[in-house]
């Protein structure tokens, strides 16, 4: 989310997981000098960290949050069964234990997952954390009052599809068992080798039933992490977190928690956030942001300034921007037309429109170019750097459109540099060279979302993007290409409406694997196979440049989130 100055809150929160992770991160060895900036780079405890954000934390209820890896600010207050490894780059894409002693023990076919809680875990008030609290936390995420979380729990847990949460249904979910206060067992309706990834989400945070105040819980959620909420003004616009004295570093290997106090200010314009970070005056010297990255104009300025350039981290997040076809709409039912479009695409002008080569990498694969996804390079319709209009014309001729073709490209009118007019006009300009006249259909953002995600109104060609719920091929490929996930009467993400038995079977087969490395390889191979069908034209993978204040040390940015991890930074 490049410039989310005016964006729907809940939508934005959802995108924090799907989309955002827009972070600054040190990925790749050459960027790893990001740790500390000059002088004494050893991190020390103490001080106040300021977080300048664009989106307010208006959802601060663990049930409502849609996060990748437990989120950033939320992860300071909510501990989960498992969490993401707090390391730079690819190492950060691993799942590690958090409240639990391990990442989960599956039964033979990965349909039953058992977790044991560490000893001595307590809430901010000193009361012990029990497995029943985790079960309750998962259950309340099913309440319609607390909607907003990811769909996996509902899809995976036995008998959960119609469950309405503990407020309406006192019996609770039988799919979750708590044989004793430290053990919790999840029963799934199909094999899911990636369950440990799911257990990083905030729905797996313990919520003490006696402290649950329903929709009001978010004003002061009970902390299990290193910080507790001491102030929550204007529905998450201004948060102050202070040390939770009942948290013990002995049970938490992941969160460093250097600062004594965290002051989160949000509702700021993204250009203002970057201006403040670059000026680094007063409290802003010890400031970071978790949802704003440098835009192209800011990057142009920063790269010309050595002092500023040293304060920029680079982040990668599993994310792909692409052109989507609906093969049910003519002329896109003809694979040759889709291939012609793929050949004609000028990725360098698309990349420029997205912010230039520092902020976007050209993409020819649907899966992000990271190892944890099982990235397997392929390019079925090589367009080179700036398109192959000759090849495109040839294909069009074969398809019976020798005199050119007029098509409509649907995009959003938002200002996100992803599905926005800038990208659409770049595509329009490139296809012109291949004799394809593109009419732009720009829709208001809500209208656009409704239209592209409904099989009844889905346009023939539109800009789309997809982000990873966790760094693996599963949540990346299944929602988009699994034929059984076509939703007829609701939000549908299988926009190519592909229902191919061999693809479906392969997805099932990979889900059975609990060896995540082996699974990654298979996802990569599947991606290549689907790529040949030309249902999408991958355009680019975004890169995130994140500026931070001059006193901030110990910068850690994982490939899981691509965001500067505020559980690691120090200001002293």
């Amino acid at each position: 989310m490049r410039q989310p100055s005016v964006i729907a809150r809940r939508v934005a929160v959802a995108s924090v997981s799907l989309v955002v992770a827009a972070g600054a991160a040190a990925c790749g060895p050459e960027d790893n000098d990001a740790k500390g900036s000059g002088g004494d780079s050893t991190p020390h405890k103490g001080g106040t960290l300021t977080v300048l954000n664009s989106q307010p934390q208006s959802d601060f209820d663990p049930a409502r949050l849609y996060t990748s890896g437990g989120g950033n600010v939320p992860s300071l207050v909510f501990r989960t069964l498992t969490t993401r490894n707090r390391e730079n780059g690819a190492a950060g894409a691993k799942v590690v234990p958090d409240l639990a002693t391990d990442t989960g023990r599956p039964n033979k076919d990965a349909t039953v997952w058992t977790y044991t809680l560490k000893k001595g875990l307590t809430y901010e008030d000193g009361t012990p954390i029990t497995s029943a609290d985790i079960k309750y936390g998962v259950e309340r995420s099913f309440a319609p009052e607390l909607s907003g979380g990811a769909p996996y729990l509902r899809d995976w847990l036995v008998g959960a599809a119609d469950y309405q949460g503990p407020y309406k249904d006192k019996k609770g979910l039988s799919a979750i068992e708590t044989p004793d206060s430290r053990t919790i067992v999840f029963h799934l309706n199909k094999p899911e080798g990636e369950f440990p990834y799911l257990a990083t989400q905030t729905q797996f945070t313990p919520v003490p039933r006696s402290k649950d105040t329903g929709t009001k819980y978010e004003s002061h959620p009970v902390s299990s992490g290193p910080y507790k909420v001491v102030k929550n003004e204007n529905d998450g616009e201004h948060l102050v977190l202070e040390r939770n004295t009942h948290w013990s570093a002995a049970t938490d290997q992941e969160r460093k928690a250097y600062p004594d106090r965290i002051d989160v200010r949000s509702g700021l314009d993204s250009s203002v956030i970057n201006q403040r970070l670059s000026a680094s005056q007063g409290a802003d010297a010890a400031a970071v942001t978790t949802d704003t990255n440098l835009g192209p104009a800011e990057l142009a300025k920063v790269t010309g300034d050595k002092e500023l350039a040293a304060r920029v981290g680079t982040g990668h997040f599993g994310y792909t921007n692409y052109l989507a076809f609906n093969p049910k709409v003519k002329p896109f039912d003809d694979p040759m037309v889709r291939q012609a479009v793929a050949y004609a695409i000028d990725r360098s002008s698309v990349v420029n429109a997205a912010g230039g080569s520092a902020l976007a990498e050209p993409a020819t694969t649907f899966l992000p170019n990271q190892k944890s996804f099982g990235y397997t390079p392929y390019d079925p319709f090589p367009a080179g750097k700036s398109g192959d209009p000759a090849k495109a014309r040839e294909l069009l001729k074969q398809a019976g459109h020798a005199n050119g073709l007029t098509i409509t490209l649907t995009h959003s009118n938002s200002k996100d540099f992803e599905t926005s007019p800038e990208i659409a006009t770049a595509v329009q300009d490139a296809l012109k060279k291949a004799g394809i006249t593109v009419k732009l259909q720009g829709l208001e953002d809500n209208d656009y979302r409704d239209k592209i995600h409904s099989v009844k109104t889905e346009p023939g060609l539109f800009l789309a993007h997809w982000g990873a719920d966790w760094p693996s091929g599963g949540p990346f490929l299944a929602p988009i290409f699994d034929g059984r996930q076509i939703v007829k009467d609701g939000a549908n993400f299988n926009t190519g409406q592909l229902n191919d038995k061999s693809v479906n079977d392969e997805i099932d087969a990979i889900n059975k694997l609990t060896d995540l490395d082996a699974a990654a390889q298979r996802w990569g191979a599947l991606d290549k196979k689907i790529g040949d069908k030309a249902l999408v034209v991958p355009l680019f993978h975004p890169v995130y440049k994140r500026l931070y204040g001059k006193d901030v040390k110990n910068i850690v940015i994982s490939d899981w989130t691509g965001v500067l991890d505020i559980s690691q930074v120090a200001v002293k």
Binding site: A8, L146, S147
Partner: protein
């Protein structure tokens, strides 16, 4: 002014009718606005069943007239909302509860109003100073170079959109010269000095936009007054020019300015949308833009009603002020 009480009563009745009409219009317009509210509330990945549950929870399935009826009910007798674990009563006048954040609309408004009021009142002081000052000077120095320069400056303010002025001011004053902190709202009650320093740039940005209108009005009004008989008489009696302009003419010329100002206060609360969005001030305008984007009808209606209320109120005040000021002018 016969029957001031009658005037007041009539205006109040008129205001209520106007505000209700506005609420109906907003309801209808946002009812047909695209955007599946339940899907937005639930999240993009929610299944149809879950979306249906949320829609039921928010009573979105009801027909338009019924939803408006519930709104009116809330306004006059209050409403109950479930938090899941308990039931919360929202006392009349209840503007409902946000679809997106479960906050009560009145609470949201009360939290945001001080910011918008601070912004508008401060900007008003500034635009009056700038506008009247420029207007008087340019009437006095009519046709000279100084007048042209002043006119050009105020026009530059009007001609440049507030988001450009604001951003440039911010980059130059806060980023490069480092004269002021980057604006960040501080409660007046917490620290009045910081409140003022932080709001200075937003005030200036908004004031520059409005100042030109006042400058023009003051100038025109001054010229008219300066040409009147009694001013000519003062001059004939040899009263110093500075005194003629500053004391006698200005007083006569201020009446229309006062009235225009009362009018602008109301609309400026709505016009602060851009300023608040740019500076990240957590006021009514910023919240309203958010609410529109997520089709959060209760919040939109509530906030439009509040801004509408200020406009209606300001118009009434303008009429009273003008009547009072006008009499003084005649008396003078």
């Amino acid at each position: 002014m016969s029957g001031f009480g009658g005037f007041l009563l009539r205006r109040t009745a008129g205001a209520v009718v106007t505000l209700l009409a506005i609420s109906v219009i907003v309801y209808v317009v946002f009812y047909v606005t695209p955007g599946n509210v339940a899907q937005i509330t639930c999240g993009p990945r929610c299944s149809p069943e879950q979306v249906h549950q949320v829609a039921e929870q928010l009573k979105l399935g009801d027909p338009l007239y019924l939803r408006y009826w519930h709104f009116l009910q809330g306004l006059f007798v209050g409403q109950d909302f479930s938090t899941g674990t308990s039931v919360e009563h929202c006392a009349a006048p209840c503007l409902g509860q946000s679809y997106q954040t479960d906050q009560q609309v009145l609470d949201i408004i009360l939290a945001k109003l001080p910011v918008s009021v601070s912004l508008v009142v401060g900007a008003m002081v500034l635009w009056l100073l700038l506008g009247i000052g420029t207007g008087v000077l340019s009437a006095w120095r009519r046709g000279r170079v100084s007048e042209r320069v002043l006119t050009a400056v105020t026009l530059a303010g009007t001609a440049t959109p507030v988001f450009v002025i604001g951003l440039v001011l911010m980059i130059v004053v806060c980023g490069q010269l480092r004269l002021l902190p980057f604006p960040q709202y501080v409660n007046f009650t917490d620290d009045p000095e910081q409140w003022a320093w932080n709001l200075l740039l937003p005030w200036l940005s908004l004031a520059l936009i409005e100042a030109a209108a006042f400058a023009r009005l003051t100038r025109a009004s001054m010229l008219e007054t300066l040409a009147e008989d009694h001013i000519r008489t003062f001059r004939a009696y040899g009263v110093a020019e500075r005194s003629v302009v500053g004391r006698h003419a200005l007083r006569g010329a201020l009446a229309p300015v006062i009235a225009l100002n009362a009018n602008n206060v109301g609309s400026a609360v709505g016009g602060a949308v851009l300023t608040e969005t740019l500076f990240g001030l957590p006021g009514i305008g910023q919240e309203l833009v958010h609410a529109v984007k997520v089709v959060d009808l209760p919040v939109v209606v509530g906030m439009v009603l509040v801004t509408g209320f200020f406009v209606v109120l300001a118009n009434a005040v303008a009429d009273v002020l003008y009547a009072v000021a006008d009499r003084r002018v005649v008396l003078a």
